[in-house]
């Protein structure tokens, strides 16, 4: 299977690989996927408490090139967005941007799930209620 150029570029030059201090109050961490499924994503956001803006985002991903690219792209999109705006990132936007083929749609779903999990982690840490999301359909 041939990967799109954008996937290859993110794979070769991943953006924002790394780790934020998961114990910090203004850092939200989302860890989704499972080793037995062949992909695990960890996505972290750092939020400015005063403005509610995402000032930094990092990821680490165990998975195929599309999974790596989806999480790399997600961190790019997250930076500079407010938490509320970040919630609007849809997996299909990732599919479109990266030209993911149907068998790789789950990679984008995982990235969307990771964003939501990171936001919820941040919310819970800061005394807010976790948002209940509908179960993603494409799993």
């Amino acid at each position: 299977m041939a990967y799109s150029e954008k996937v290859i570029d993110h794979y070769q030059n991943p953006k924002n690989v790394g780790t934020l201090d998961k114990s910090a109050k203004n850092v939200g961490t989302g860890l989704v996927g499972a080793p037995e499924c062949g992909d695990v994503m960890r996505l972290q956001i750092q939020v400015d408490d005063a403005t509610g803006m995402i000032t930094d985002a990092k990821f680490k991903t165990f998975g195929c090139g599309s999974a790596i690219a989806s999480s790399s792209l997600a961190t790019e999109w997250l930076k500079g967005k407010s938490v509320d705006e970040a919630l609007k990132i849809d997996n299909m936007d990732i599919v479109e941007e990266l030209n993911l083929p149907p068998v790789k749609i789950h990679c984008s779903v995982l990235a969307e799930d990771a964003i939501k999990a990171a936001i919820n982690d941040y919310r819970v840490k800061n005394g807010m209620e976790a948002i209940k999301f509908e179960e993603s359909v494409v799993h």
Binding site: P35, K60, V103, V109
Partner: protein, 405 residues
């Protein structure tokens, strides 16, 4: 100068040896006759060429030329052997014994047999990929007509104890069929010394052309028969109808002859390269060889690099190195290799594997390049892997409740 890409997927298919192509060419052009045309020189030439190739093929496996049935490849051979025996020996019984690590052409044929009302026992394998002879013997019953165990595995290269298996088969009056696709031409296979009754193999795995293979069917002690699975002109002693693929068969014969001539030298050279590759790659932390290292084909190495995913790993170099991964992220099922899982490998390791298949044309330079490229990519992806980070922090990944999706 090193020419890219490098081909290290010789278990999938092998490049044709130029000497094979040379032997084949005249049979596409001036000697195009149908080997079944008995009344003119075109047919005679073709028949003569097929007879000669049949001898070359038979010689490689220690068989009589009459025992070679030409097919389109090993998948057809597997089907013809299993279905053909099932039909031919229906009055004796309906039970077949096979193993969980067999090729799909065997496993799916067995599934088909079950739908027809047959009974199939799927033997498990140990961590090295070997079946247990005691379990095999215990599985044999009065209705057992066939044992179908591959000679060597396509993913991990593990060689089954065929002589011991055939001794058990003989003792119990059961036929032994083996899928010899990966073994024939690579290691010495002798149908008489090994006690094989039926064996499928294929030309394109031994530097011959695609689309041609053979089924060995024993003619004496015991005389084995299979029911044809295609009806037609009654070619190949009535077991496989269809006009013979003369150029393909000529190439197959030549490929067998070359394998016989070159086997010793090929094995010596290739196993040195394989061992070098393996030794260097195992210097990486958390890298493990899958399958038996003792009972193994000389040109195969299947290695898991823990905490990196196989497909992602291959993407790091698959423009330049052709390999195969046990990970199945490309398929909708996300299921990793059933062979690796049968060894008892956890899904994480099964998803992290690469199969290196060396061959006659693999060079030292190519192996050096591969060692470097694979090592670098493993290290790079581990820096990107949350699992590697957790492992390094001493977190037991089994204690995490993963949201399996």
């Amino acid at each position: 100068m090193l020419k890219l890409p490098i081909y290290l997927d010789n278990n999938a298919t092998t490049p044709m040896d130029p000497r094979v192509l040379e032997a084949m060419t005249p049979y596409f052009l001036e000697h195009f006759g149908n080997a079944a045309s008995r009344n003119h020189p075109f047919g005679w030439e073709a028949e003569e060429a097929v007879d000669y190739a049949r001898e070359q093929v038979a010689k490689l496996i220690g068989a009589d030329p009459k025992e070679i049935i030409f097919t389109s490849g090993a998948t057809e051979g597997d089907n013809l052997a299993i279905k053909g025996v099932y039909e031919m020996y229906a009055s004796k019984g309906n039970h077949i014994i096979t193993a969980t690590t067999e090729h799909k052409a065997v496993l799916d044929t067995c599934k088909h047999i079950e739908k027809l009302g047959g009974e199939v026992t799927y033997l498990p394998v140990n961590a090295e990929g070997l079946i247990d002879l005691k379990e095999l013997e215990a599985a044999i019953k009065p209705t057992t007509i066939l044992i179908a165990i591959m000679y060597a595995n396509n993913e991990i290269g593990t060689i089954q104890p065929i002589k011991e298996i055939s001794a058990l088969a003989r003792k119990n009056g059961v036929l032994l069929f083996t899928d010899g696709t990966q073994a024939v031409g690579k290691i010495p296979v002798d149908v008489n010394k090994d006690g094989i009754d039926l064996m499928a193999f294929s030309a394109h795995k031994m530097y011959g052309p695609k689309g041609v293979g053979a089924l060995y069917v024993r003619r004496k002690n015991p005389r084995v028969k299979v029911t044809a699975q295609m009806d037609g002109g009654g070619h190949e002693r009535g077991m496989r109808s269809g006009t013979l693929n003369v150029p393909g068969i000529v190439g197959f014969g030549k490929a067998c002859e070359l394998c016989m001539l070159d086997m010793e030298e090929d094995t010596r050279r290739i196993s040195i390269l394989r061992d070098k590759l393996e030794t260097e790659l195992l210097k990486l932390e958390e890298a493990y060889v899958n399958g038996s290292r003792e009972h193994r084909l000389p040109h195969v190495s299947n290695i898991s690099f823990k905490h990196v995913e196989g497909e992602g790993l291959m993407m790091g170099f698959n423009k330049n190195i052709a390999l195969s991964s046990g990970s199945a992220c490309t398929s909708a099922s996300l299921e990793p290799s059933y062979v690796l899982k049968a060894l008892g490998l956890g899904d994480d390791l099964a998803h992290s594997s690469l199969r290196f298949g060396l061959g006659r044309f693999t060079t030292d330079e190519q192996i050096d390049y591969t060692i470097k490229a694979v090592s670098e990519t493993v290290l790079k992806l581990r820096e990107m892997s949350p699992l590697w980070e957790m492992y390094k922090e001493g977190i037991d990944l089994n204690t995490i409740s993963w949201a399996a999706h």
